[in-house]
Symmetry: D2
Subunit: 352 residues, 4 copies
Amino acid sequence: MIVVMRRDASAADIEGVLARLRERALTPHISAGAERTIIGILGPVGASGVASALGSITPELGAMLEGLDGVEQVLEVSKPYKLASREFHPEATLVHVPSPGGEVVIGASEVVMMAGPCTVESEEQLMAAAHAARAGGATVLRGGAYKPSTSPYGFRGLGAAGLKLLALARQQTGLAVVTEVMTPAEVELVAEYADILQIGARNMQNYYLLDEVGRSGKPVLLKRGFSATIEEWLLAAEYILAQGNPNVILCERGIRTFERMTRNTVDINAVPLVKQLSHLPVVVDPSQGTGKRSLVASVALAAVAAGADGLIVEIHPHPDAAVKDGAQSLHLAQYAELMPRMRAVAAAVGRE
Amino acid sequence: MIVVMRRDASAADIEGVLARLRERALTPHISAGAERTIIGILGPVGASGVASALGSITPELGAMLEGLDGVEQVLEVSKPYKLASREFHPEATLVHVPSPGGEVVIGASEVVMMAGPCTVESEEQLMAAAHAARAGGATVLRGGAYKPSTSPYGFRGLGAAGLKLLALARQQTGLAVVTEVMTPAEVELVAEYADILQIGARNMQNYYLLDEVGRSGKPVLLKRGFSATIEEWLLAAEYILAQGNPNVILCERGIRTFERMTRNTVDINAVPLVKQLSHLPVVVDPSQGTGKRSLVASVALAAVAAGADGLIVEIHPHPDAAVKDGAQSLHLAQYAELMPRMRAVAAAVGRE
Amino acid sequence: MIVVMRRDASAADIEGVLARLRERALTPHISAGAERTIIGILGPVGASGVASALGSITPELGAMLEGLDGVEQVLEVSKPYKLASREFHPEATLVHVPSPGGEVVIGASEVVMMAGPCTVESEEQLMAAAHAARAGGATVLRGGAYKPSTSPYGFRGLGAAGLKLLALARQQTGLAVVTEVMTPAEVELVAEYADILQIGARNMQNYYLLDEVGRSGKPVLLKRGFSATIEEWLLAAEYILAQGNPNVILCERGIRTFERMTRNTVDINAVPLVKQLSHLPVVVDPSQGTGKRSLVASVALAAVAAGADGLIVEIHPHPDAAVKDGAQSLHLAQYAELMPRMRAVAAAVGRE
Amino acid sequence: MIVVMRRDASAADIEGVLARLRERALTPHISAGAERTIIGILGPVGASGVASALGSITPELGAMLEGLDGVEQVLEVSKPYKLASREFHPEATLVHVPSPGGEVVIGASEVVMMAGPCTVESEEQLMAAAHAARAGGATVLRGGAYKPSTSPYGFRGLGAAGLKLLALARQQTGLAVVTEVMTPAEVELVAEYADILQIGARNMQNYYLLDEVGRSGKPVLLKRGFSATIEEWLLAAEYILAQGNPNVILCERGIRTFERMTRNTVDINAVPLVKQLSHLPVVVDPSQGTGKRSLVASVALAAVAAGADGLIVEIHPHPDAAVKDGAQSLHLAQYAELMPRMRAVAAAVGRE
């Protein structure tokens, strides 16, 4: 952390900052330039709390220093996350997901395909999608039983009945199941049925929920909030990791920008960048990320070329009759056509 | 809702859309132009579900139609919220908040000041802030007992002990209390102590929480999500109203933009716009909205001039030692100085 | 400038950075912490070029250092603008604009109103607007003779004929004239007719144009680009100032965000912030900033309360028949009604 | 275009809209629903101007109608661009660029590589980069002689001397040359030396410049403004096409978002979307698009997988000593390594 003093900061202002640092047992590095003074604090990043905070940079330290007299700005130097960071954990994390069809490994050489309907609607719909997903080469089935709806008048999912249908599809196809959990009180129930717990974009900073899925120990697919910075996303992962659950899969699903022609803007830069910053696997959701069926295949291929460890794609036997998000769901035939193209691109970048 | 067909849409494509509308008992208005056909659907907005959906525009209808062959885009015409809308409820809502010092009314001629520390830290700190708030003319005390922290290593608040301190301050000063609740399971506890339940920006789309504060019947201060559109914000209010709780206060607290010199960008346009779209009172948080103490007063005055029904401002007896957000907290003397200026601006725009 | 080395940077990496700094005669301040090393460079900000660059921080230095081996990031400390900065010029700049009706001063205690049509359409339209502007208390007439149009099929203004109409209105009303200039080759012509040259938002980074209006010596109203950071905006002002022209008026006219209900989002935070960072006067354009007539008055009042030195507002005798931007133009009667309210708010914040 | 009336619009309000449409010889399609009336206008898109505007939708029509009494909003239906649109020109445009090494075709099956330094610095630097570019398989050399600089103290390029060095490199290597032109007065000079004129992101809405490069007839590489919507980008292309110059190459170079870890966010969705909306070729600039050398290769491969017709990449013999943008320039060896990987991905998606 670096405290940049104003040009007109007085000696008393500088002493004021140093006094605060001494109280916290932090060692300042002072550089007095011709124009201004800067004060470096290079201690380790620590947690809040009276005892543990001594000698370490707590999350609130910067905001506190920024308010002192004579301070112009405070610049962060250290990364605020540790467990999610590749600096502290250089080897890539592989998330192992047991499933009736054999273990699925996410983060290894194989690019993993997760496919299925946006929402579980009925046994017929889900089974048709699941068998097609399997036939195309997916190893994970997606499908929402609990659905966030922007409007209170919208469809909020089949709930427990949807979970049971997912369990049936899992049994029949051998696919692992990923499905969303929306509130701490339902983690236990969803964890009974799902192989991977999904945290939706709107809940990326629902900290009670992150704590709870952390405690569950289950693999977690953590979607990036639609306006979350990469740092905030990795801090959300840190919440889960800090509960002792190392099985976090990051999912880029598009961010909100000024562009209105697509539902979201897939941040393709984030794929290689997060692979450099973190050891966690990264998958991409081109369905949510574009909102348009006609763009899904191209963006899916781009994600694989950029180094994604997997894809999560919405497919539906009858998108035109889908309860939710039909416009971004692939027809089963389109999905079947995408899979060999995805394999070709994966091979071109040295993946399976 | 308007379905815009592609220029090259076939007669079969158009018939496909009409068939879907007939299934739902919706009446289409077809306009066949030289270049393309558009199909208007002017039925009422309704809720999802087999029975209720017949003859009404459900929240998912647009996304479904957008995926049909030959459709270029679907344009929304009706507002997706009803209870929050001024169209259906032309008179301004007044939120009545009982408090030991007398009822506080939000949305009437008087501009209401809510002031207090970001976080409840100790009895000394809270009482000093509360007495100063009261002396300056505030009628509501703010203060966080449960705090969202971007980092898992950050301070998450005093919890129940913080609530008790707020109750003490309420008793001593007669101020009403607004404090944040973060998860459905804690609504009951927080509602015992708070006069107004605050939903934080990160939880604006935490639907289980919205349902629960809706059921509580208590006044709710609903902060706009930092990347929520105005429509999404009003739909979040609709969740609370739909549970039979009419006591919703909207709070603009700055949105996330590309500008990096301020923590957020206060959307001042939103103040008069939301007053036109909705009958609910609107308050502004210039502390979160700017992140800089030196900007708080100017933006507070701007909010009052723009028509805000109130302000919520962070004040602290020792901002330099604040656990959280000291850099955006006013010194008590700065707050005392702001209040007469605020009254002058309020009077200039015909408010008290 | 601060160079933050990676945790795993080698001694050779650090030496590599130091060697580059020595080549440029810059003095490094090295802070070796437990986790990483940071290198401060506190020299003055200078211009590019072999001779002048020695011993100073050039605009390109940071990008160069960021690419060196072992460097994690480079943080800017000094402001990249000087002439526009309040640090180097603490007193507020007053821009004096001569006009037939007497000198207009922008940046002093009086809040200046600039009003007129978006586009000069005809003598009748312009004279009606100009007389109304004058009657309400404006001292500057706005009106576009050269208009940027997003579409090549749109109206691009009356050109020289429009300038002549502005000159006529100036003569008849005594108002000073502000009008846009779009390309360097037309600066001379526009400067013959205008008292203030306007640089539109789309041209804020048209550097040849900034150079040319700088050389003209005329007062310049510099609109913020719709996605320009405050720093980029002040650097655009610096271009004009660096040509020896001190008469720059900054104009906040809304920025582009994700919010779709308004044309732009007025960055109200920018008003007090720019007044702190710079000595230049700041005016606000609530017409462009909102795009909706019904929001203009509220946002205009907010701007004055926030400390703006002036307003620039679109008015039209027949907005419903306006060639451009009728939906955001005030009717003359609405403008007449706004002016006393603006004066009341100005008085409430100690302005005239 | 669709005019959506307010729920409480009166018959007179509706008649007011219809009267305006009649004046312009436009045929309205009225749909009167239970809740509100909508009025469709399905005429062709036309240009402003008294005669040509009759019977057609001019670019200013929507803004005018939106200001009428009783109008809630105006929705655009037709695309505002014609010449750039695939609807009116279904076949892909191939841009033929003559060069000493043989014609380069952009938009055909072959993915075209354009490589070279950000800025032309010296003969040695440029020749080293040009020979390496050629050896790796590029067919176009990039390099800036005129450079936009955010700061007036920054390096603005070698100017005419830089153009001459580009001509020399062209002659020695047979590569075609693309270089930026920044102001109308310099188009003629730059066009003498360049095979492709580049319009930089900051100048995407510099309409005089667009007109002038349109008149030159030369191939134009049109970079997307960093905050331009896709529609605005295509309208900028329309300016060039409207001058009779069909040789426009669109270049996605990243947009400005809230994410701060990368210089820009490459809008990968835009690649397939623009290929659907327009017949013009699309190339991607992963150097500007990311700002980080370590991300360039991954994003370049992603762009090819998404369907880009080419790439434009910054390379430098000594990035650590580059005058500008060294941190995003590939070392020549990194470029050499990227080329076979790019070819593999191109082959995987059926391109050369």
